[in-house]
């Protein structure tokens, strides 16, 4: 009987604990401030890496906006207040956090890092009548559901491999064959799919077969062993190996191809990994000559009143966060641009009301340090091109489009 009383006491104690926890729920009064809310990855796979770069971009944007007096509408200046919460690099948690933001009255959302998180967040935003500017989720699948409140400043996944194909085919001599290794995640698969189509239009043959990216050269997302894909490629002697994947897989592909004697005649290209400092530090000399597609390069002739020119953005950002101007995370530029687009839409709407902001975003046409921002009916920014860089002497060198190229591409890229 004593034990039963004990069990009962435990239950009551639990109830009290729960009630106490409920009292502690956070509230956020925004006053005349405007609040931007973002789930960010501070721990887990993206924490202290891409998640951190995204956060730095958001912070830099908000600081810059506020230093210029904030956003002005309704005849007043409104400072921007950035609210973030760690999603532990778990997509489901990102979604929960955004839902929680809604409960706190935070309707203006900036995306978490990556396609997975953004895809999970999008339906929540849509349901809650929040509005989200997406700066780091490029998977075209996000835009195939007919969402009305998701706007992406970055180019979609479809252009990651296609831009590489375009850049390669502009080189002399253009490659005749490429092999495409693709990770199993949605973003990488969609990017590879479009790349194969583009290669066909440019007359480039994809080896070992056009659909290999779905079978023999498909690798587990985030793996550090892509040997099976490389062995499948070995013997087909491609001119270039393109890796449609993230950092782990790209680093593994470059290292293991040397181990396996798989030597593409002209070199390597990869989607997301090369334009990140981590790629260079991970591969050292082996990163030399690798091509990579990127959302933004400082060479573009674009500027705005908040950040100044693209070059000024780079200088100020890298100074603030201690990056080198030759190796910087482009994710931060994406993030800052997303944050800026939201601010511009508020200014245009003359209100921070989410419905008004959404309407303003639909018709937004803005030239920024990031390039032209304009959304199509699905919410994608198709006006902005992708760029291609090559790693030369451990620095990002823009080589495509050719009018922005600061140096000649080293071609063939391998000795």
């Amino acid at each position: 009987m004593m034990m039963q009383r004990f069990s009962a006491s435990v239950m009551v104690a639990i109830a009290v604990l729960v009630s106490a926890a409920c009292g502690g729920g956070g509230t956020s009064g925004s006053g005349s401030n405007v609040t931007f809310a973002a789930p960010v990855s501070q721990t887990g796979a993206f924490g202290q890496a891409e998640g951190l770069y995204t956060l730095q971009g958001y912070k830099f944007c908000v600081q810059t906006l506020n230093s210029k007096g904030g956003i002005s509408f309704g005849g007043q200046s409104h400072k921007v207040n950035l609210v973030t919460e760690d999603d532990q690099s778990v997509a489901a948690t990102s979604a929960q956090i955004v839902d929680q933001f809604n409960d706190q009255g935070d309707k203006l959302i900036l995306s978490p890092y990556g396609s997975a998180g953004t895809t999970a967040v999008a339906p929540v935003v849509e349901r809650n009548n929040q509005v989200m500017v997406d700066s780091n989720g490029a998977d075209t699948a996000i835009f195939s559901h007919g969402y009305k409140s998701i706007f992406a400043v970055l180019s979609p996944s479809s252009s990651y491999v296609t831009s590489i194909i375009d850049a390669l085919s502009a080189l002399n001599p253009a490659p005749k064959t490429v092999a495409i290794i693709a990770a199993s995640d949605g973003f990488s698969q969609h990017a590879a799919e479009q790349g194969v189509a583009e290669a066909k239009t440019k007359g480039i043959t994809v080896v070992p077969s056009a659909t290999a990216y779905t079978s023999s050269t498909k690798v587990t997302a985030n793996t550090t062993d892509v040997s099976s894909a490389l062995i499948a490629i070995k013997g087909t002697n491609p001119d270039v190996i393109i890796i449609s994947a993230h950092l782990n897989e790209a680093v593994a592909a470059v290292k293991q191809s040397s181990e396996l004697g798989v030597k593409p005649k002209d070199g390597f290209a990869a989607t997301v990994a090369p334009p990140t400092p981590a790629f260079i530090s991970a591969l050292g000399k082996s990163s030399e000559g690798v091509f990579g597609s990127t959302q933004w390069v400082p060479e573009i002739s674009a500027s705005d009143s908040v950040f100044g020119s693209a070059h000024e953005f780079l200088t100020n950002f890298t100074n603030t966060y201690g990056w080198s101007s030759e190796q910087y995370p482009y994710q931060a530029a994406d993030a800052a641009a997303g944050c800026e687009a939201l601010a511009l839409a508020i200014e245009k709407a003359g209100s921070a009301d989410p419905a008004a902001v959404r309407t303003a975003l639909v018709g937004l046409k803005a030239d920024t340090f990031y390039g032209h921002i304009e959304f199509d009916s699905t919410g994608m920014n198709t006006a902005k091109p992708m760029y291609v860089i090559q790693i030369q002497k451990s620095a990002f060198v823009t080589i495509y489009p050719s009018n922005l190229a600061t140096k000649q591409a080293i071609w063939p890229a391998v000795a």
Binding site: S7, Q96, T119
Partner: protein, 349 residues
């Protein structure tokens, strides 16, 4: 004397009547307290803000998961490290049926549970012959394997690109529950899992599970069909977990194989049961509530350091309360002996 050795029917009432008669003011306390807590949680929903509702919803989810793990891992003594397989299968059954075939959630839910149970029986029959760490690893392998199968059945499940349950407009087979709806759904799920665990624990079957846990040879010798007990316990546990997975899928709308087959779900179930105290009903309950509130509190308030601190707290709890916090408190209550230092010495080398 001859009577007792030959056996005789002792009572003529049906099982249920016997049960009710057996209730006394003393032993019905936990049931009453549980009912009270359930009512309080129902009432609380009207008082709290939505953010807290969601927090509690996740607490309810883990209460159900912890109770489910405790049935197979705590009572029966087979520490499954593959419970997340049932969660993922439940989630994907619902998502595939709703997305590909426009089946309503309520029709998909029992099928999700069925898929979970069938998988549990299929892997349980061969694997429940393994003991200790071997069973743990085999089930871990089964869960990893299940995820890879879902990952590769791209045409049905969307593979690594994830799957979306339609919840908008005419596309939606079942209207979205919304926050209050899911609060209620997970509260009921948690309550059902607690009741199932409590009823099982006090039944003949409950004693059979404990007997299997302690010694299978001895259990067989007193007439317990150990295979049936193990498979049924595994199946009941899987049913609860698959049901939780189904609700979770609908709540999330959009998810990936890596989300719903995430081994950390299993690990959390185990930790919650162990930290609360296994083989009782209140242990996992307290473990789930305490740990989920703690981890969410840390995540929101500690930023970069939250997982580090969470890990350190687990280490400290294991060292100071190796038998589980609730079990420690219960024994301390019983013996009036509260020394934590003695407790640390308990399992020391």
């Amino acid at each position: 004397m001859a009577d007792i050795l030959r056996g005789r029917a002792r009572s003529r009432q049906g099982l249920f009547v016997g049960w009710i008669r057996a209730l006394t003011p003393a032993n019905s306390w936990p049931a009453l307290a549980g009912l009270l807590v359930f009512a309080a949680m129902l009432a609380l929903q009207q008082l709290i803000e939505p953010g807290t509702q969601r927090l509690l919803t996740s607490v309810f989810l883990f209460v159900a998961l912890a109770q489910a793990w405790n049935i197979i891992g705590g009572y029966t003594g087979y520490a499954s490290f593959g419970q997340v397989a049932f969660f993922g299968l439940g989630a994907y059954t619902v998502a595939v049926l709703m997305n590909n075939y426009h089946v309503s959630f309520w029709a998909a839910l029992p099928l999700a549970v069925l898929v979970g149970v069938v998988f549990a029986v299929a892997i349980g029959l061969p694997l429940l012959r393994l003991r200790g760490h071997y069973f743990a690893i085999a089930t871990l392998g089964a869960a990893e394997g299940a995820r890879e199968v879902i990952n590769n059945l791209t045409s049905v499940t969307g593979g690594g690109g994830g799957i979306t349950i339609p919840t908008f407009g005419s596309d939606a087979p079942t209207p979205y529950f919304g926050k209050p709806g899911f609060y209620l759904a997970f509260l009921v799920l948690a309550a059902v899992s607690v009741v199932v665990a409590a009823v099982l624990a006090r039944s003949r079957f409950g004693y059979a599970m404990v007997a299997v846990h302690e010694d299978e040879d001895a259990a067989g010798a007193v007439g317990i069909n150990t295979t049936v007990v193990k498979v049924v316990a595994f199946g009941v546990s899987a049913a609860i977990v698959a049901c939780a997975g189904a609700f979770y899928a609908f709540q999330q709308i959009e998810f990936y194989p890596t989300d719903v087959f995430d081994a950390s779900f299993t690990v959390l179930m185990v930790i919650m049961v162990m930290i609360g105290g296994s083989g009782s009903v209140v242990g996992p309950l307290a473990g789930a509530v305490g740990l989920q509130l703690l981890s969410q509190f840390l995540r929101v308030n500690l930023g970069n350091f939250n997982q580090l601190i969470f890990g350190a707290i687990i280490v400290l709890v294991v060292v100071f309360f190796p038998q589980g916090v609730v079990t420690y408190l219960r024994d301390a209550w019983r013996t009036r002996h509260f020394s934590i230092l003695d407790n640390v010495r308990r399992y020391r080398l």
